[in-house]
Amino acid sequence: MSLRTNIQRWIFNKESAQSRPAEKLPDTERKPTLAQTLDEYKDCADLIHRTYPDIQVEVLYFGHMVNKDLLNREVIALLLNVEPDEVGNLLNQPQFKVANDSKGLIIGILSGQIAIFRGEIVYLADIRGPESRSVTQSETETVITGPHDAFNEEIDINLSLIRRRVKSSHLKVVKLSVGEITKTNVCVLYILDIVNMDYVDEFVRRIRAIEVDGIYDTNMLIQYIDDSPISIFPQFLTSERPDAIASKLLAGRVIGLVDGSPSVVSAPTSFFEFFSSSDDYYQRWSIGTATRLLRFIAFGITISFTSMYVSVTTFHYEMIPENLLLTLTESRSRVPFPPLYEALLMEVTIELLREAGARLPTKIGQTIGIVGGIVIGQAAVQAGLTSNILIIAVASSAIASFVIPSYVMSASIRLIRFSLIMAAGIWGNFGIAIAITALVIHMCGLTSLGSSYLTPVAPFKFKDWRDTFIRSPFKTLIERPSQSRTKNRIRNKMKK
């Protein structure tokens, strides 16, 4: 393959998900038997096997995955008190379902059901245990006004949180399973009549095509299915907030839930969606607009402030106001490194502090804050390691990076900053321009479920801007976003 096609492929991300292998066919169905099931669970010491010789019934379950009360009330008590000839009638009650294939039986036991063997027939009863975190506030996506509940690790609770918000029979759910060993449940949600079915089909097809041993989180799942796996940018939005996800559903997006993960994915996604928060809609429109614009300014600051410092102090002294130049020269004159190394040193220190703070419990985290504040704020300048203007640049770009509501996006942006600093240190302002141009070219090539990542800027959809860069009043938000490619475009039927 020629170098040119390689470069083109790299720049325009032509490596899409099209080359994924076809879906594997399910195992041949076999009639389940006790011996075979026991053989499957050989050496599983936590499997409980009880026999009731009087009524010729044997049960299999995992003790830690079932609700003990339910187990006693719904199964054990009934089986103990039943007459031998009554068993058949008892097991015909609705909570017992006949299992027809051995694969379903094995998965059923693994997901907390109890298997009841009576002669040739196997019944399954759902007595899953309630051991899950309760619905609490989201720690990564907090809002001031608006609902405070967040998804947790239990997929059923998450589904109920969404269903409670979208009371419509048009809300459809596709159940999938991902991971050859973990067999993680994945649900794909969409609203019929609003969503474009092409997106649903593509989303489901990509999830079905995943062939790995296991996935543990939504953010992991989306890296298997996104259009450009090597890109620095997340191509699907994840959120922990049911209200945000409900609004995405109504905007015509496809939603994916992963069992065991509090994050929920929405697809397709544009780059600018990462800069909006549910808060924007709960505040008055003017405040929502102001905060949204502030986030875009923060984006500019966080990727370019430190690199501007580097380029200006290394190459473009003409750009600094004269009064500032004197103080800057004075504090720079004691620094033994060129501005590039000085900036990298400080940026790495800030990243160290951030990472340490994120990993430590809150009580120790405070110490990190104080130590960091003193070390970075004072001692580094006094020791002549950095100039104080750089401290301001580094600190404000760090603060600005936390303004971006999506943690995944803000982490990506922080990494981009380093390449801009390098470019600035080597080529000055031209370097910044080159790096930003390369970034824009890359982003133009990105797609999310096959739709452009930079919608509504490229392709240019000016109508969408009123809910992208600003949050205009609700009476002007009449249509669903164009990226959803929905046939049902009008969402606000009120007369103006």
């Binding site: 170098l3 004269e322 130049l325 004197l326 240190g425 080597i426 000055g428």
Partner: protein, 367 residues
């Protein structure tokens, strides 16, 4: 694999080539804040530069270098031999020209300033009545960095219209434009201070005449519109007492129209001045509307007289600093203008000044 090699080679090349670029790390450069050009008695060029110093350890807050040379670029090379820093002119704010040099023409220096891409078009061009190098390199007790002191003085003065704001850009534009001649403020040494010494008028790039600082506002009235300024009017004496009025918070607008009478242009210059009376020691009752109108007429007469005198001075010296030629040019055809030798005709052109004054208010005391 190809991708990896590509990335590695781009990064590698850029790191290797980074040493080849023109790096100017700020603490390693001496940025020239002001420069002055003078002519010595034997015709040599004297160049002085002033570099603010940022070293907090030393008491001296600036460095000056002085050299004689044949050209500015030669001077830069000689000067850089005296400094441990790389001299850079990207922060140049002031260029001072000695009047003796300016009388011979300063275009070659202006040309070299404009040609240098790092020099801002906002650099101020100023004339110095006396020795420019001495003015720049001497110690002022209250002003550690004379370059900045001069810059701020000029900035404030141009805001109040006591001198016109003349940047490199303005000078070059007026130099090349047909129908207007450049001007530049004049400053002079006054012991511990620097003071505004008037306005220098140029014919092409040669300094030929100057206006007294008191006439600066009249010049401003005739030259364009502005929104801030104050002027003291001498309204003659009555009963042995000198009557003066001070007009403040002035808004002024100017309109020039040209009439042709058998091919000879007559230029009408209308100035509309609005202002508040801050001080008046005459006999008129200015809180009364009639008294105020009388005063307005008196002031208008005074301004007209002074304006006429100024235009006569310009015509006698053959400098069109007000840009009258521009209006004449705009009122005729291209070929007509090309066939007209404006500078030859200019001294004879009749310029009629018409000033209207409006006093907005007379202060708090209404008696």
């Amino acid at each position: 694999m190809v991708k990896c090699i590509l990335i590695a080679s781009v990064l590698g090349t850029s790191i290797i080539l980074s040493a080849c670029s023109d790096r100017r790390i700020i603490e390693e450069i001496g940025f020239i804040q002001s420069a002055s050009y003078d002519r010595s008695a034997d015709g040599q060029l004297i160049i002085a530069i002033s570099i603010p110093k940022a070293d907090s350890g030393s008491k001296v807050s600036r460095e000056e270098f002085l050299t004689t040379a044949r050209s500015a670029k030669e001077a830069r090379i000689t000067l850089s031999r005296q400094s441990q820093l790389t001299l850079a002119s990207g922060q140049l704010r002031n260029v001072l020209f000695g009047c003796s040099l300016a009388r011979l023409g300063i275009w070659e220096h202006i040309d070299s300033l404009v040609r240098d891409t790092v020099i801002s078009p906002q650099v101020r061009i100023t004339l110095v009545d006396g020795d420019a190098a001495k003015l720049l390199t001497r110690q002022y007790k209250q002003h550690p960095i004379p370059g900045r002191y001069i810059e701020q003085l000029l900035e404030k003065s141009s805001r109040n219209q006591t001198v016109p704001k003349v940047t490199l850009h303005d000078f070059v534009k007026e130099y090349y434009e047909e129908g207007i001649d450049p001007v530049a403020p004049i400053i002079r040494d006054k012991g511990d201070h620097v003071e505004i010494g008037g306005i220098g008028l140029f014919r092409d790039d040669r300094y030929v005449a100057s206006l007294h600082p008191e006439e600066a506002l009249i010049f401003a009235f005739l030259r364009g519109k502005f929104n801030q300024g104050e002027i003291i009017m001498d309204l003659g004496s009555r009963n042995g007492i000198k009557e003066t009025a001070m007009l403040s918070a002035i808004n002024s607008k100017r309109r020039i129209t040209v009439n042709f009478d058998q091919g000879v242009p007559t230029v009408y210059c209308h100035a509309r001045i609005q202002g508040s009376i801050m001080e008046y020691n005459g006999t008129l009752k200015i809180s009364d509307i009639h008294g105020r109108h009388q005063l307005e007429t008196q002031i208008a007469q005074n301004v007209t007289e002074r304006a006429n005198k100024m235009i006569r001075l310009m015509q006698n010296n053959g400098v069109d600093s007000l840009g009258i030629g521009r209006f004449v040019r705009n009122s005729m055809s291209y070929s007509g203008w090309k066939s007209l030798d404006w500078m030859a005709k200019y001294p004879e052109v009749k310029v009629i000044v018409n000033v209207s004054v409006f006093i907005k208010d007379v202060g708090k005391l209404k008696i």
